[in-house]
Symmetry: C2
């Protein structure tokens, strides 16, 4: 049987549709939800990502304030920019594009974002709140994965979810969020021995490893739900799509899977933040 | 072959021994490390725990300030007490004994503890920092488990660790700490299906489920390392000791395992905090 294709474009449109009247209502109260994006340096993929996010804001009637700093920016200069955005009442969300040039203390920069404006869910406080089940703004890609799960009514409770990857914005938070939904969660990474054995027992697989076509159809159980959060050059996911398609009961494509939903969650969380200003 | 007994008393004494000269040095600078314990209500086990912690402070030359509030305390009253302790320069650590009476918003009370004094590791910020690998004060029981692992030089990297339990002060943080040590980590809980299957593949088991004698020897792999963080009435762990003893390569007893090390970590983290005052 062919698997259910978890179409991220459909989910993203659903999310964005639900935002329109909320944005309208805010504008009637003279508030335009505004996301500030901060890009440091000249990485061309990062420029593309930031542009996509800015355009997505504008397409839906939100404001996007784009700040582009030079490759030579110091940590102190970046912290000052973030502090100014924290203090700016017209800004409701702050997104610092990862990665930043090597001379910058990226963690310090993320931590400087105030929790009220951390709509991208990058701070340790935001992560902790999410893990404890009361956070306002989970990291956007994990939030997107959960949104897809909800939209397609995928059963998570009691299921064995295997997350491949343990980054602060993806593997760790999605592990915690799935745990809070009563999944049994295994988090794997580059040191994991017998990854294939572990994957072969997974009901749900979240691929967040950053290696193109890494997870093969041979490794996964018949009927597994496969969520591919990988972004690799050339729009290739972490999952070898064709072979996994043969085994999965449901699967996200790349592109058109987790990616567009991630952006829609960023918009949603910026609108959430703007509404708290009323 | 008989398993290695992971003797918590030995580890706790080792930790406490290392604190003596540090406390001496602090006193020479007119700083006596001080832990404030806050107990709300009349739960007799809680009273015992708090007394043990206070006594442990005093035995090692630290100060313990014991605050006992009535069963009828409101959230607001408790928050005020915590705020006063946050502002008190003579207090280096604050421990709010769990559980508090039902009318109190326990999470709000925990969150009110300033990160500088959260030596018991209960705040969402402290948890997030620990999970991201840069926290000062992890939750004490997880810290104790890692200390036992280090003391007995148990190999964690690449191993499959199964944590049974997902509480904010135990299952979740110990999962993140083991993950940061490059273990593959599975977190299980009451909704987990096929727990026995999962345990049968575990190289390391952390029992944090709160059910006496819950984990049976039949369920565990020959040679597993078993760390029992359970505290149940009558000094009974979560692990059925005799049957697990037959299978394990290393095992913590109850009592005399994780418990005493937990208290020593609380003392250590209070001393750490006092040293930051210099």
């Amino acid at each position: 049987m062919k698997p259910l294709i978890l179409d991220g474009t459909v989910v993203a449109n659903h999310v964005k549709e639900s935002l329109k009247s909320r944005i309208e209502d805010l504008k009637n109260q003279d508030i335009t939800p505004c996301l500030a994006t901060v890009l440091v340096g000249d990485d061309s993929s990062s420029e593309t990502y930031v542009r996509m996010k800015g355009n997505a804001c504008q397409a839906i009637g939100m404001e996007s304030r784009r700040i582009h700093l030079s490759e030579e920016t110091t940590t102190e200069e970046l912290l000052k920019v973030i502090q100014d955005l924290n203090n700016d009442d017209d800004v409701h969300g702050i997104l610092l594009q990862h990665p930043v040039p090597h001379q910058i203390d990226e963690r310090a920069a993320f931590e400087a974002i105030s929790i009220e404006k951390d709509v991208d869910g990058v701070t340790s406080l935001g992560f902790g709140q999410t893990a404890f089940g009361f956070g306002s703004y989970p990291s956007c890609t994990p939030a997107a994965i959960l949104k897809i799960i909800d939209y397609y009514e995928i059963d998570v409770e009691g299921k064995h979810a295997v997350v491949v990857g343990r980054s602060p914005i993806l593997g760790k938070p999605v592990s915690m969020m799935l745990l809070n939904r009563n999944a049994t969660v295994t988090t794997c990474h580059s040191y994991t021995e017998n990854l294939q054995d572990i994957l072969s027992n997974a009901d749900i697989i979240v691929a967040a490893v950053g290696k193109p076509n890494f997870i093969k159809g041979d490794w996964v159980k018949e009927g597994a739900v496969i969520l591919d959060a990988g972004y690799n050059k050339g729009n290739i996911g972490d999952v070898e799509y064709d072979s996994c398609f043969e085994k999965a009961s449901a699967i996200t494509p790349v592109p058109g899977g987790v990616g567009p939903v991630t952006i829609s969650m960023l918009l949603k969380q910026t609108v959430d933040s703007a509404e708290k200003r009323i």
